[in-house]
Symmetry: C2
Subunit: 124 residues, 2 copies
DNA sequence: CCCATAGTTCGTAACTTATGAACTATGGAA
DNA sequence: TTCCATAGTTCATAAGTTACGAACTATGGG
């Protein structure tokens, strides 16, 4: 089993970050990691917004996040602990991650709002 | 030939924007459009950062930008004029496009800088 | 040593993207 | 009109990417 590979911060690209964050499952994972107090292991995400994610798929998503430079993964015993590399990325691309996370959250809020309106028929 | 389709602003998604902007050619096109004073036609981009783009590919890139909601395309005679929808998008996702464009530009500047250092050997 | 847990890798089917060739639309010239 | 050039789209297909079940690997107990 090959070791977990992380790009050095100079090799992290905007394209890579945007691509990684353009997948809703990965974006959700990243946002939860960013909001978490401590490192999370992969299995914490076998369930993402009501959707079951097969573990091979999850493993690939973590690899994508790792190779884009968004997360750092470290073996700890039988588990892999994941943390974001947001500080490094902020150093290189200030404001980028914050804007992306904020936009994802705004969209989530807008969807919730739209759904609640849909369930209450409009005044005729 | 089917007419040019644009999503309404409520149907524009963060995922879609990120995915569209994660391609370097599309990002370059978007950034140039955003900086342009007037609408540009597609053929202005048959050449993007020293790389020739086949016109069928270019057409697909414009379609991707259009369907992600990033640009508006309008037929004007034999040409198609393209403009960004940045104001609408800023209304829905404030700061997102600005951060992405800024990051792409920062990366471009960093690459230029790295290249100029590489051509001058380090002091031994 | 064996098992359970956590995750990775592999193989393949499904999807996406790039591009040449053929097509369509528009506007002007003959 | 008819013909042609220009600008772009669409189609077919080859190449690349992604999803996920099955098989595998690594680690830490009993």
């Amino acid at each position: 089993m090959r070791p977990l590979v992380h790009p050095s911060i100079e090799d992290v690209t905007v394209e890579g970050i945007l691509h990684a964050m353009s997948d809703p499952v990965r974006a959700q994972i990243y946002i939860q990691l960013a909001g978490a107090e401590c490192a999370a292991n992969c299995s914490n995400f076998l369930q993402v917004s009501d959707k079951a994610i097969p573990k091979s798929t999850l493993s690939q998503h973590f690899r994508a996040l790792r190779e884009a430079g968004l997360v750092r993964s470290e073996r700890q015993g039988v588990e892999v602990k994941n943390t974001t590399r947001c500080e490094e990325i902020n150093g290189r691309f200030p404001g980028l991650l914050e804007a992306i996370v904020k936009a994802h959250q705004a969209q989530f809020a807008q969807r919730l709002c739209a759904a609640s309106k849909a369930s209450v028929p409009p005044p005729s």
